[in-house]
């Protein structure tokens, strides 16, 4: 029973902020080979783009806090959103 990530994320209640609460210095990403942020984030917020930079889907963010340490090169600036996620069940 494989459930697509976006479907899983769509189960949660979001109040998405107008401005992204995540800023990435994508110039630094150009020199980053393994792109560890894409492995660490459980919401697939960071997606590699073919030009070597990173696309940020900030509206997916589960606010786990991993973004605060996910980038070893200090390219991610993360603050918690004003709205963001609300869990209903657990």
């Amino acid at each position: 029973m494989t459930v697509n990530l976006l479907k899983r994320l769509g189960l949660n209640k979001y109040n998405v902020d107008k401005n992204s609460h995540i800023q990435v210095n994508t110039d630094i990403c150009l020199t980053c080979k393994d792109k560890p942020c894409t492995k660490v984030c459980p919401a697939g917020t960071y997606e590699p783009s073919p030009d070597g930079r990173i696309i940020v889907h900030y509206e997916r963010c589960l606010e786990c806090g991993a973004a605060l340490v996910a980038c070893p090169y200090g390219a991610i600036k993360f603050t918690f959103p004003e709205g963001g996620i609300s869990y209903k069940y657990g």
Partner: protein, 407 residues
Amino acid sequence: MSFDADVIIVGGGLAGLSTAITANREGLSTIVLERGEYSGSKNVSGGRMYTHALLQLFPDALERAPLERPVTKETYEVFCDEGKKITFSFEHKTKNSYTILRAKFDQWLAKEAENEGVLISYSTLVTNARREKDYIVVETNRGELKAPLIVDAGGVTSPVSRFLGIKKLEPKTLMLGVKEILDVKPNLPEDEGEARTIMGLIGNLKGGGFVYTNKDTLSVGVTIKVESLYNSNLPSHEIVERFREALGIEGNILEYSAHLIPYYGYDKLSNLYDRNLIVVGDAAGFLINDGFNIRGMDLAIGSGIVAGKALKKIKEMNDYSKTDIYYEMLKESFVLRDLKTALRSFKVLNEEEIFTKYPKILCNTLSKLFTVTSDGKERPINVLITESKNENVNTTKMLSDIMRLFI
């Protein structure tokens, strides 16, 4: 100087609410700032709570709190390659621990706090904090507030301590927890529940998984060291899915959540207090993971109770630099005592082999011991030595590591 309250508590999770309830009962004016639209709306836990600390706060909690099921069966499972698995199960009809769901539980606790007179400001995000001469100002999306005593109860990311520049987060002291809730009703009587701890199903990642039975649902999740995700072949958003599938659990997913988990260990705890500041729960790094239990919730409540009492003493002294009183009181409580006791096993769990090689060696050894062929039987210790050698592991070290988990 006039202040907004005696104490401002940043974070309305278990630690913050327990601090607030205790401080309020001690006669202090208390404000809780919570960024979620209700307490529990942003909180993630596997969901097994040891109830002893909660009972200190509310002696009748077992009757009143929204608990799911008492854990009456513990199952430990180690999976190895080729379908081999070691299982250990233990049943006991006690009410020592319960499964809970935080969205329900924290909301209940917040209501209790409000009924006792605690002021909670929801949807209030603390965006910065700065120290003035003898008090702290917290900046929020709704304006500034100041108090001579601030409690950082903001969870693992320790917002206040970070904003004040006394804490920096490092991947090596953090784990990532990812969890699903499934609409699978456990096939158990209502007053029974099971906690499964599972090793060996998440490849080479350092960590393990769990399955907890709630009243009508299952909590299924993994906890993994952040560092080990850097070189993983599997992105972290696929791990729970693979884990659930490997266990053969089928059902509709109701919720998908994730959260960092502190992983400091007793000897690496820092920033527990500072001038005008007290740090509780995950923000202080109070988490025990000894391979058998993961405990943060009882430590969050326990440290909150100690903090509430310490705040009263500090206020009475009228010297807000004397926050070390909290630390002295913590040393006398189960929080630091249990963290200290867990240190040995905690260190063992930092060893790479625990997750990668030991399960395989033990499985292969047991597999040979339970297999009879016409080649004749070897002594168990010789089988163990051979299997350890195959994995380049020193048998004595392995046995001593395993012993350290228990003694």
